[in-house]
Subunit: 250 residues, 2 copies
DNA sequence: TAGTGGTCTAGACCACACA
DNA sequence: GTGTGGTCTAGACCACTAA
């Protein structure tokens, strides 16, 4: 009936992970710095390899570190793009230098690849929102500096956009919204629904996401001034590459 | 010089995880359903325990499943609260039945616990935004149905709110914003910065987050009509409990 | 070639849940 | 008590990176 021997503290792998995390969050280890590898941890703490791996996997799944095969485990950085929702209300005071998170303000150009356009039967929620069972769907991927950052899928009611450039790869100057304007259907109101979750496998591939990186999912509905829904756009963003900004009154 | 023997496909643990994920996303397994456990997978696929664990850990880290000690691994659901940013512009058309994600609209009451108020030296970015090195800080946690869903930390310039109920636990009717109004500092404009990341350990504890659940972080700055910043509020939300909605023009 | 991370096996002891 | 997941050891072979 003696007391339990020694296990009052948290498991070894967790204590190791805590130590490394602290070093990262404190800035002792930063940006592309190399973390102690599996072998180093085995020696330093006298543990088995699986345990060292478990410790590192904690940080990897938290998105704080990235493993590079044959090389090592490295600290990850956060330098997002700033995406503006409603910026119409911005005054100088809250437009300049008042950001909470640092971000890349240099307006780097988007690249669009993998454009893909199809006429499809609408999924349930799209059909419900657009009041249309047939839709034209535009899928594309956006990259910045050669790195993919966003997947977007836009849906348009088939009867409204049939035989317009919206069903073509090249939509002409001003893009899709300008063409909707030509039809007298210029988007005037938007609602955006924002959520976050872990990525699905195909998103991990298409966005080249390291483990531990959530995605931000934006469901956006565009309405004309008359209240006609003309577009449902679902965007999937690499959360390590974005900060969303919304400015509003009241 | 014969071809490589058999390993053209993805690793076993991944194929198992893929199969289970498919079952979840297709709805074959849902809500609180129990997944096949480690032992079941070992037998079914003839693999070692560590490999079965690895397969399950994939789903757990994706937030699709939750392990329950001594019981099993269970499918997780997504039934979020809808949080409205700018809703001022909402018309009936885009206010009712036009949501992309299901959400709990029944207005369940928040509970606030762990209220904590202190006068502190402002962190860098807070000091920069508020033009004040000393701030009053209100920390609190919000729960819905007894489950914690949000952590919030509000900062107020010390010189503006000194000796007001804002420095007290009970701020009176209308809350903090009403008291700011009493001072002629009613918030009129807001900017919100939204990002997502994996939670830090203390957030995991305070929000009781299962593995694989990202947090949504909202950095909110409130300005008076005159453009004076009066509050910096950092909110950390359980991403499995929230959908953010923003409505805007243009 | 040496070192790194990726995958996998075959055991072990533990705390906890549930019947 | 039996079964579950949590932690840990001590090996193995592989693919990839970098010198």
């Amino acid at each position: 009936m003696q007391q339990s021997p020694v296990p009052p503290e948290s498991p070894i792998y967790r204590r190791i992970a805590d130590g490394l995390r602290e070093a990262i969050l404190a800035g002792d280890l930063q940006d592309g710095d190399r973390l102690p590898g599996e072998n180093a941890l085995m020696v330093q703490y006298g543990i088995a390899r699986a345990t060292a791996r478990q410790a590192l996997s904690v940080l990897i799944n938290e998105g704080l570190a990235v493993p590079k095969r044959g090389s090592g485990v490295y600290v990850r950085q956060f330098r997002p793009i700033r995406r503006h929702g409603s910026r119409r209300l911005s005054r100088e005071q809250w437009e300049r230098g008042q950001a909470i998170w640092d971000s890349d303000t240099r307006g780097r150009p988007y690249t669009v690849d993998d454009v893909n356009i199809d006429k499809e039967v609408a999924e349930d929620f799209v059909a419900r929102v657009l009041n249309s069972t047939e839709v034209w769907v535009r899928r594309r991927r956006y990259s910045v500096d050669g790195r993919p950052v966003q997947l977007a899928v836009s849906h348009f009611p088939a009867d409204l956009v049939q035989d317009t450039p919206i069903t073509q790869e090249n939509t002409g100057p001003g893009g899709v919204y300008a063409r909707l304007g030509d039809l007298g259907l210029a988007p005037a109101h938007f609602t955006e629904e924002v959520r976050a979750r872990m990525p699905h496998p195909h998103e991990t591939v298409q966005l080249d996401l390291p483990a531990g990186t959530p995605v931000i999912v934006i469901g956006r509905i565009a309405y004309t001034a008359a209240g006609v829904p003309v577009e449902v756009n679902e965007m999937v963003l690499d959360s390590a590459s974005y900060v969303l900004q919304y400015d509003f009154d009241s």
